[in-house]
C-alpha cells in the first residue's frame, strides 16, 4: 500500500501542495435482521476506496474514488489539487495545521472472537429466539424486531510529513425492539444500538439479547395501560442509556471546535460554548466531570490514531463543572493555536475527516443506585430514549423516554408512559447533584452520529452512570 500512498503524496506535492494526506479504506459490514422470528434481511457489504486531501495556498481540496489503481490515484489527486486551487480563490485566512508528530504505527481493536467467523446460523438463532420470546407473550405484542451488526474497518493513513499508519477497527452490536399495539396506540421498548462497542463477537454474547428482548416485551405490554406522565417540575433520575444520549447531544456536539468556530453554521449549527468561555464557563455542577477518551478499552469511539494520524487521547472537557477544552482536529486547533485533541474522523474513504466525538464520558460519582433512590423523596426515573431534539446551539433540548417510574419516598411507584423532560443545557447540568459510582457505570455506543455535508455517520461512545437532576420540567408528550 505504501507505494500507492507515496504516489498520491508525490503527485500532490508536485502540484504545489504544502501538505497532503491519503487514506485507503475498506469497510466490511454484516447486518442481520429478523421480524417476528423470521429473517427479514441478511446483508453483507464491502466498500473500499481512497481519498486524497491536499492543502494548496492555505486552502483544502479533496477528491476520492472507489477505483484503487496508480493511474486513477494520480488523476484523483490532480482533481483534489484543482479543487484546492478553486477553494483558495475564496478563502479568508489560510489553514495553519496544528503540529503533529509524524508517526509510523499500527493499531488493531483487541478482540476475542472475530465476528465475521461466527457461523451465520448461530447469529440468526439468537435473533429468532429474541423475537419469539417477545411475540409468544401476548397477541398485543404485534411486532418484535431484532438485529445484529458486525463492522470491520481496515485503513491506511499516510501524509506528506512522513506519517504511515495502518489500523483495523472492529465493532459489534445487537438490538431488539418489542412493539405492543392496543387501546388505540402502540408502545415500544427496545434494547437499542447504544449497546454497540469495539471488540469481537464476545460483546454480543455478553448482551444475552433473548433475555433482554423478553424483558422488553413485558415492559411494552405494561406500558399500554400505564399512566401518562404528569406535568410538573421535579427531581429526575436519568438512567445510563438515556444519559448517554444526553451527554452526546448536550455535551459532545457543543464541544466540537469546528462548530464553535462557525464551520457547521449552515447545517449542524454552531455552539453556545464560544471560545471566550474556555476555562471559565460553569457548564455544570462541581459533580460533573466529562472526558473525551479515545483510549478506553471497548468504547465505540476507541481507536489508535485519528484520521489525521494523531494518537488517541484522553482529554478533560469539563472538570468539576468548568468547561476546559474542545474536541478538535489539526485544522481548527491550528486556528485556535492549541494542539489537536486527536478527534479528526472520517466515516469512510469518500469523506474528509471532521471534528467528531470519540468516547465522551461522564466520570462516575460516588453514589450507589439504591442510596440515590433512598435520597430521592419525590421524582421520576426515566430510561431509554424515544425522541430527541436540541437546538442548533445545543442549548434548548427535549428528550422523551420509552419508560419511566414515579418515585415517592425513595421507592418506585407508578409506571409512566410518554414521559418527556426538557431544559437548557448549562442549567440542566448545573442541577446535577448526584452521579452513581463505577459499579453502575457503563460504556454505551451511538453507532450513527450524523454530521457534515455530504453527510457522515460515525460511531462514538459514551460512558455514563445514572444521575440525578434537580427541578427538571417533565410532561407527557401525548396529552399536550
Amino acid at each position: 500500500m505504501e507505494d500507492l500512498t507515496r504516489k498520491a503524496i508525490e503527485t500532490a506535492l508536485s502540484s504545489g501542495a504544502t501538505y497532503a494526506d491519503m487514506r485507503i479504506v475498506e469497510i466490511n459490514t454484516q447486518n442481520i435482521s429478523t421480524r417476528n422470528g423470521k429473517i427479514r434481511n441478511v446483508s453483507i457489504d464491502m466498500n473500499r476506496g481512497f481519498g486524497v486531501r491536499v492543502l494548496i495556498d492555505g486552502a483544502w481540496g479533496f477528491s476520492s474514488s472507489c477505483e484503487i489503481d496508480p493511474g486513477n490515484i494520480e488523476k484523483v489527486t490532480l482533481e483534489a489539487a484543482k479543487i484546492a486551487r478553486a477553494s483558495a480563490k475564496l478563502k479568508k485566512k489560510g489553514v495553519k495545521l496544528a503540529p503533529a508528530k509524524p508517526i509510523r504505527g499500527t493499531y488493531r481493536t483487541p478482540l476475542k472472537k472475530n465476528p465475521f467467523e461466527v457461523p451465520l446460523e448461530e447469529k440468526v438463532e439468537v435473533l429468532v429466539d429474541a423475537d419469539k420470546r417477545v411475540i409468544s407473550q401476548s397477541e398485543l405484542l404485534k411486532l418484535s424486531t431484532s438485529s445484529m451488526s458486525s463492522h470491520r474497518e481496515n485503513k491506511v493513513f499516510a501524509n506528506s510529513e512522513g506519517a504511515y499508519i495502518t489500523q483495523e477497527i472492529t465493532w459489534c452490536g445487537a438490538n431488539s425492539r418489542a412493539v405492543a399495539v392496543g387501546y388505540g396506540e402502540f408502545q415500544d421498548r427496545s434494547f437499542d444500538g447504544r449497546n454497540s462497542r469495539t471488540g469481537g463477537y464476545e460483546i454480543i454474547e455478553e448482551i444475552d439479547l433473548p433475555a433482554r428482548a423478553e424483558e422488553s416485551g413485558k415492559e411494552a405490554l405494561k406500558l399500554l395501560t400505564a399512566k401518562n406522565c404528569p406535568e410538573m417540575t421535579t427531581d429526575v433520575i436519568i438512567g445510563g442509556s438515556q444519559l448517554a444520549l444526553q451527554v452526546h447531544e448536550s455535551t459532545g456536539h457543543p464541544m466540537e471546535l469546528d462548530r464553535a468556530l462557525g464551520a457547521e453554521a449552515a447545517y449542524a449549527g454552531t455552539s453556545f460554548l464560544t471560545v471566550d468561555k474556555l476555562d471559565k464557563f460553569r457548564y455544570g455542577s462541581k459533580e460533573v466531570t466529562i472526558v473525551a477518551d479515545a483510549t478506553i478499552l471497548s468504547g465505540l469511539g476507541t481507536f489508535g490514531y485519528d484520521d489525521e494520524g494523531v494518537p488517541a487521547q484522553r482529554v478533560y472537557l469539563v472538570k468539576e463543572g468548568i468547561f476546559t477544552n474542545y474536541i478538535s482536529d489539526r485544522t481548527f486547533a491550528g486556528e485556535l493555536g492549541v494542539p489537536s485533541t486527536g478527534a479528526a474522523r472520517a466515516s469512510s474513504w469518500n469523506r474528509i475527516p471532521l471534528v467528531r466525538m470519540t468516547n465522551i464520558n461522564l466520570e462516575p460519582g460516588t453514589w450507589g443506585f439504591d442510596e440515590l433512590m433512598r435520597d430521592t423523596k419525590k421524582g421520576i426515573y426515566m430510561e431509554t430514549n424515544r425522541s430527541w431534539s436540541i437546538d442548533d446551539k445545543r442549548l434548548n433540548f427535549q428528550f422523551g423516554t420509552q419508560i419511566a417510574y414515579l418515585i415517592e419516598n425513595g421507592e418506585f411507584t407508578d409506571l409512566i408512559k410518554n414521559a418527556v423532560y426538557t431544559g437548557i443545557t448549562p442549567q440542566f447540568w448545573g442541577s446535577c447533584d448526584a452521579i452513581c459510582n463505577q459499579r453502575h457505570w457503563h460504556m454505551w455506543g451511538t453507532p450513527g452520529c450524523g454530521k457534515g455535508q455530504p453527510g457522515q455517520g460515525i460511531y462514538v461512545g459514551h460512558g455514563t452512570a445514572p444521575a440525578r437532576f434537580r427541578n427538571t420540567r417533565i410532561f407527557s408528550g401525548v396529552t399536550r
Partner: protein
Amino acid sequence: MIKGKKICLELADKVAKEALNLGATQAEVRLVNSASYLTRFAGSAIHQNVGEANTSLTLRFVLGKRVSTVSSNDTSPESVKSLVEGGYGVAKVIEEDPEFVSLPEPQPIKELRGLYVKETAECTPDNRAEMVKALIGEAHGLSPQVKEVAGALSVTSAELAVVNSLGVNAYSRAASASLDTTVTSREAGDEGSGTAGDTSRDIKELDPAKIGREAAERSTGSLGARMIEVGDYEVVFEPDVVSSALGYISSGLSAQSYQDGTSWMCDLMGQEVFSEQFTLWDDGRDRSGLAFPFDLEGIPKRKLVLIEEGVPKAVVYDSYTAHKDKEKSTGHAGGMGPSPSHLIMKRGDATKEEMIAETKKGILVTSFWYVRTVHAKKIIITGMTRDGTWLIENGEIKYPVKNLRFTDSLLKTFRSLDLVGKEGKRIAGGFDGGAYGGMVVPAIKSRTFLFTGQTP
C-alpha cells in the same frame, strides 16, 4: 463519470446471470454509479470542497423463499464472482421467509428525458467557486449587519440500473444541483440568522444572488429577536417547514408501518382526518419535482393520490409489502422498505402576504430544526424553529422572536389548515443529493400550533 446505459445494464445483467448459474431461483441487481461534488462555505469563505466517484452493486440472491442481500463497490470480475458466491453462501443457510413471494414482474417504463443536464454534471470547481462568490457578495452587499455567510453547493450526476431475472431491465440517469445558505447578522451584541436555498436538475436555474439576498433579508430581519409567552398560536409555515412536516406524515403512508399497526393511518383510512384543503399525492413523473421514472426495484413511477381533500386514501407499496396485501407494487421500493419519494402537495390560491394578513396572532416560521417523533400514532413531533421566526399580530409582522420549541400533533395542525400557498417550492430528498426524488410543497397557514418552550 457516467458509464452509459449499455455498460450499466450489461454489468447488472452479468451479475444476475452469474447468480442464476450458481443456483439462484431469482436474482435482482441494482447498480448505482455517481459522481458528486460539494463546495461548502462558512465565515464567508470556502472551507471544505470535496469530490467523490463511486459505483456500487447490490444483489438480491433468491433461493426459493430464502433471500440474501449482498453489495460491493468493486465491479471487477473477481469481486463480482465473490459477491455472487457471498449471496449464495448466505441464502443457502438462512431460514425461509414465508412472506416472500417473488421479485416483481417487469412493467413498461416510459422514458423521462432531460433529467441529465450536461451543464450540471460538468460544473467545475471554478464554476462552483464563482457561484458561491456571487451568493456571498450579494448577502454582504445587502447590509453591513451581515457578518457571516455559510452554506453548500452540491452537484450530483448519477445513473441507476435495475435488472432482475423476471425481465426487469430499467435504466435512467439524472443530475441535480442544490444551493443553500445560512446568513448570520450581528449588531450591538445581538445576532440574527436567515436561510434560503433552491434545487434543480439544471444548475443554470439556480440564482446565487437571489438566494444570498433572500437569506440576508431574513437574517437582518431577525435582529432584535424577543422572548414571547409560549402557547398555542396561529402559524404561517414557509415551504421548508411544510416539507419537514410532510416527512413525518409520510412515514405513516408506508405499507410497512400500516401492516405493522404503527402508522397513524391504521384506524383513519377513508375518514375525514385533515382539512379538505389538504391533498397530497406522489408522482415520480411530474417534472415540477425531481422526477425519476422508476424505483429501486425497477417498477415505474405513476401518480398515486395518498390524501384527497383531507381523507387518507392509500399507502405506498414495494413488491414485498404488496404481495402481503395481494396488491401491486406502487413503485415505491426504497432502501429500507416502501416510502413516498416524490410527494406533491396541492397548491391553494393564497400568497404569503395574504396568509400574514389573515393572521390575528400567530408565528411565521422559516425552518424547522431537529424534528423528532414524540408519538407516532398521533404524529406528535417536537423540534425547534430556526433561521427566521416572527410574531404576527393583526395581520402584520410585529417583530422577530427567539427560536421556539414546539410539541404538537400534525393531525391537529393539518386539520386546522385554512390557507394554502399558490407557489410550490422544489425540495431535494432521498440519497445522492436529490438525484432520484424530492418534494414540491407550498406555504400553509394553520389556525393552531403549540409552542412549548423558547431558547433565551
